[in-house]
Amino acid sequence: MRAWKLKRDWVTGWLLLLPAMVFLFAFTHIPAVNSLINSFYSTPRGKRAAKFIGLDNYERMIGDPVFWKVLGNNLWFAMGTIPASVGLALVMALWVNGRLPGRGFARMAFFTPTVLPLIAVANIWLFFYTPGFGLFDQLFGGLFGWSSTNWLGSPDTALNAVIVVTIWKEAGFFMIFYLAALQAMPVSLVEAARVEGANGWTIFWRITFPLLMPTTLFVSINAVINSFRLVDHIFILTDGGPDNASAVLLFYIYEIAFKFWETGYAATLTVALLVLLCLLAIGQFFLFDRKVHYK
């Protein structure tokens, strides 16, 4: 009787899972494995089918200066966006959670960029960056008498200009997670510390910040994934230029696959991106693991 119920549970469970699993495998797991397989094959052209070429694609990748360039850009992009957006998110959450006058407005202001499409955001910022009559040039020109700067057109500033837009877009989103954690935090701990005579800074560093560690881990993993995933604004702001100065890995994959139609090489680059993501996620987990205090 009992064994029969167990078996029925098995079948019900599998049947319930089946539809979701079909789609999950078809559009996530199988494509990921296929990327690996196709990375060992040449790109099929016309009537010529793909043929096995071993590690040729990987050799090409190692010798491809653009690959190293966009990889470096992507790491710079990650380093520029992750700490800044996570740090700002925490500060915003502390402000909005406290007894700030007009905190409703502040919360709205911080969160609004989250609901805007990244592509629309890029359109707005594009005007700020325009040399000559853009807002930045007018502002800096008026205040400090700086000459006109082509923020998006010069290799030195293009990527940083993209980073600024990304931070603006992301910080409010991460703020929400901190806000949720802060509101779930027991008030008694902070009260006790205050009775003991601890000041604001001590309370933050000794109590609030350690208790927020799981949130910080969660938010940082999200930020890492986003730093390899967010490319929409690049299409509008710089189109990867000048001379790939603001292209990141996913943008390069897009160009190789859908501008030059070299799917074999694009698959190889995808594998590189997947490996990088997995390594970073695992690394982050171990880095934080010791410092995270679970309740």
């Binding site: 469970g13 979701a20 996530t28 797991h29 592509i119 005007f127 949720a180 897009y254 859908f258």
Partner: protein, 273 residues
């Protein structure tokens, strides 16, 4: 002394918070300014500048935005309906049934949080070509319908449903699906709302995959339409582009301003594990 330093601290904090808030809202405020004023006032901020609705009219006339809006609406509804259906069934299986392979399959579901379909554009495009779905709205939706995030979120909610309710319904003779429908789904309503808002805003804003897989007016969502529109640099005014930009984000933005509290709480709920 103690009080003095405290209030000093608070004033400083308040000022800094306001400064950052104003800085944060500035780009949007600026876009609104240019969109509702004639082009001559793009960079001249005088309160007496005449208001106009013309920029919106010109943007609306310059590209088939009505069609784009229809496409996006179809797209997000299709994705949301499929996600609710697929994720509910899968989450129910993970939350309340014992079967071999459960742990492994759940790990595979979570893996999608890291390896998102957004990254697998090359292979997914090949699949769509194989299925002969390129340049259709289902092609934009399909990679996202089985959402690892949705399954995870609903599973967490279903796990908090007391077993007793489940057993009681079973004693009354409900089937597994009947229990799901009568007990679990009603109790998870706030989670559905939260997940729905997150999903709709995410897919309304999505750009790269729709850009790749569509190539005609009949299928393009608003984000791709907007990029096509603003890429024509044949002397379209900034004020018109900004009007178009606001228009495409308009529905979400208005919904957000109206239901701000629910929005923020939904995102918070979605964030708590």
């Amino acid at each position: 002394m103690m009080r003095g330093s405290l209030t000093y601290d608070r004033v400083l904090n308040t000022l800094a918070a306001w400064a950052l808030a104003i800085l944060w809202i500035l780009p949007l405020a600026y876009a609104v300014w240019t969109a509702i004023h004639p082009a001559a006032y793009e960079a001249r901020f005088v309160l007496t500048a005449p208001l106009t609705f013309e920029n919106f009219q010109r943007a609306w006339a310059a590209a088939p935005f009505a069609r784009y809006f229809l496409n996006t609406t179809l797209l997000v509804s299709l994705i949301l309906a499929c996600q609710f259906f697929l994720c509910t069934l899968a989450a129910y299986a993970f939350a309340r049934f014992e079967f071999p392979g459960r742990g492994l399959l759940f790990t595979l579901v979570l893996l999608q949080l890291l390896v998102m379909p957004d990254i697998l554009i090359v292979e997914n495009y090949q699949t769509m070509r194989l299925l002969d779905l390129v340049d259709t709205i289902p092609a934009i939706a399909l990679p996202y319908v089985a959402s690892g995030f949705g399954i995870f979120l609903l599973r967490q909610t279903f796990l908090t449903v007391p077993r007793e309710l489940d057993e009681a319904a079973r004693v009354e003779g409900s089937s597994a699906l009947g229990i799901l429908w009568r007990v679990y789904i009603p109790l998870a309503k706030p989670t559905y709302l939260a997940y729905g808002l997150v999903s709709v805003s995410h897919h309304w804003n999505n750009f790269l995959w729709p850009l790749i897989v569509t190539n005609s007016e009949e299928t393009r969502p608003v984000t791709v339409g907007l990029s096509v529109f603003s890429a024509i640099d044949s002397g379209i005014d900034w004020s018109v582009i900004n009007a178009a930009t606001l228009m495409t984000s308009g529905p979400l933005l208005i919904a957000f301003l109206l239901f701000q509290r629910q929005f923020v709480q939904s995102f918070m709920r979605a964030g708590i594990k």
